[in-house]
Amino acid sequence: MKPDLSIRIAGIDFQNPVTLASGTARYGEEITEHCDLNRLGAIIVKGIALKPTPGNPPPRICETPSGMLNAIGLPNIGVDAFIRDKLPFLRQFNPKVLVNIFGSTVDEYGEVARRFNGVAGVHGLEVNISCPNIKEGGIAFGTDIESTRRVVQIVRKATTLPVLIKLSPNVTDIASFARVCEDEGADGLSVINTLLGMSIDTETWKPRLANVTGGLSGPAIRPVAVRMVWQVYKAVKIPIIGMGGIFTVNDAVEFLLAGASAVAVGTANFINPGVSIEIVEGLEKYMEDKGLNNISELIGAIKN
């Protein structure tokens, strides 16, 4: 008998627990040539805001040991253009579509969330709270517990869709942020976004990114991400999508064991745009080899 990879997360049925991380597959179009989208659990699209924004000047990315820094600056086509031009493409495929949303004020989060009510082909919202709060000095919403609370409250009120909050790792105690999200009615959590980092060229003495600082991703952050998933799993009851440096099936299993109900593949898509399908296939084989029937047998199954 084939193992059952399907899983219900935040009220959404995924055919398997493998998803594409926000910002690493845009709106799905470019990656289809290299990746059979129909075989994924979900696609989490690039961040969407109320109005179009151009993103940061170059250089936007640079490589670091076993990872990369990015300061793409959330270029986005705006909610209306997304619904009109990009969503019809995504609707053709099996996987669930989670729309990653962001704003520069609390109210903007609410407004973007509201626009997706009743929009066919959107199964849930993933709220990126790692961006700067313009009205309050540019501190990221997700690193301030009260800003986090207000964003979750306003999004919760604005939408009937399942809401996942994507936690920032740039905090001392991630469990307390997870609890606030759960208390305010979030249906799930994505853990983690990128770690704030920086790199300087020792020839030119200039920062390697035009934005000076950027978000670190890739295998370099995996142990931090696994630790945070585990801490959050112990702190709350709502399900977790785990991510951070997942490149192979074993990496994915590590996140499931730590407590994630699903995983997102991010930076690995840049090295091999078909890798997420290899992970789906690998998971099936892993479960067969271990004699597991249901993916839920792995979730939070760490022995300690």
């Binding site: 910002g23 690493t24 597959a25 845009r26 470019e30 990656i31 040539e33 290299h34 690039k46 151009p54 993103g55 940061n56 000047p57 170059p58 250089p59 936007r60 990315i61 640079c62 490589e63 040991p65 076993s66 990872g67 990369m68 990015n70 793409i72 270029p75 890739g218 295998p219 490149f247 930076t267 898509n269 840049f270 090295i271 091999n272 745009p273």
Partner: protein, 264 residues
């Protein structure tokens, strides 16, 4: 796609030629590139990202030739791999140099600096085949003699090859852009349409833009470089500023752009 290395050897100094043996047929337009990542004998996460390299040419047996200069981590590793090792490639990617009738002028000028010579051989050959009656002038430059690649091949495709070196070891002492100014002011009929194709470091392209921007009847096409992670439009990391608003992605919208549509 994992491909076998047919050969890999030093051309001169820090410049190498690697020949890949793909198991599939490749059709390329000059100026297209591949994302390449060493896979054997050691496939590790450090270095992590693949790197973009122009396709120099595809030979009769369908092998892909790439010329590269050793500048950092991946190119150093590349220089050490040997026949029989494997690399992962994705491509051909991007839009090459446009060579259609609407674009190609009465005069054709191709400018390359250093490793920028890699993609222009194919461009020169295509233009010569398609427009045998139009003279092609190539300006090739480098720091010194050791930085001049493909001189003999270029001489076969062009009516004239003008060489510049910063140290004056061969050709005109100075930059390719000095030779360009000289050529435009003395020998290029402003009544005729001139198309300039260029590949090289960003300051070189900037200077070409300045020089040609003040003249009539010149259209430029630049092949740009950018830090890339994916090469296929996923990461949005390879931005270049558009003249009108926002950004293009070098990997997907380029790497070749009309000079007056971008800000370098």
């Amino acid at each position: 796609m994992r491909v076998r290395i047919a050969s890999n050897s030093c051309i001169k100094g820090t410049y190498y030629r690697i020949v890949l043996e793909p198991s599939f047929k490749v059709n390329i337009a000059p100026g297209q590139f591949v994302m390449l990542r060493p896979a054997t004998p050691c496939n590790s996460y450090d270095p992590l990202l693949p790197r973009p390299f122009s396709i120099h040419r595809v030979d009769q047996s369908g092998n892909i030739e790439i010329l590269y200069k050793v500048v950092g981590r991946v190119t150093t590793i590349l220089s050490m791999i040997v026949e029989g090792d494997e690399v992962d490639i994705l491509g051909p990617l991007g839009n090459g140099f446009p060579v259609n009738r609407e674009v190609v002028g009465d005069n054709i000028l191709i400018i390359a600096g250093g490793i920028g010579a890699a993609p222009i051989i194919g461009l020169g050959e295509t233009l010569r085949t398609n427009y045998p009656d139009r003279p092609i002038v190539i300006i090739l430059g480098g720091r010194g003699e050791a930085d001049l690649l493909c001189v003999e091949d270029l001489k076969k495709t062009a009516a004239e090859v003008i060489i510049t070196t910063n140290d004056g070891s061969v050709g005109i002492k100075g930059y390719v852009t000095d030779a360009l100014e000289e050529y435009l002011s003395r020998r290029c009929d402003p009544g005729l349409r001139t198309t300039v194709y260029a590949c090289g470091p960003s300051p070189m392209l900037q200077k070409i833009s300045e020089i040609t921007g003040t003249r009539r009847n010149i259209e430029t096409y630049f092949s740009l470089e950018a830090n890339m992670a994916c090469g296929i439009g996923l990461c949005m990391g390879c931005a270049v500023k558009r003249r009108d608003r926002g950004y293009y992605l070098v990997c997907k919208d380029g790497p070749v752009f009309r000079g007056d549509t971008i800000v370098l």
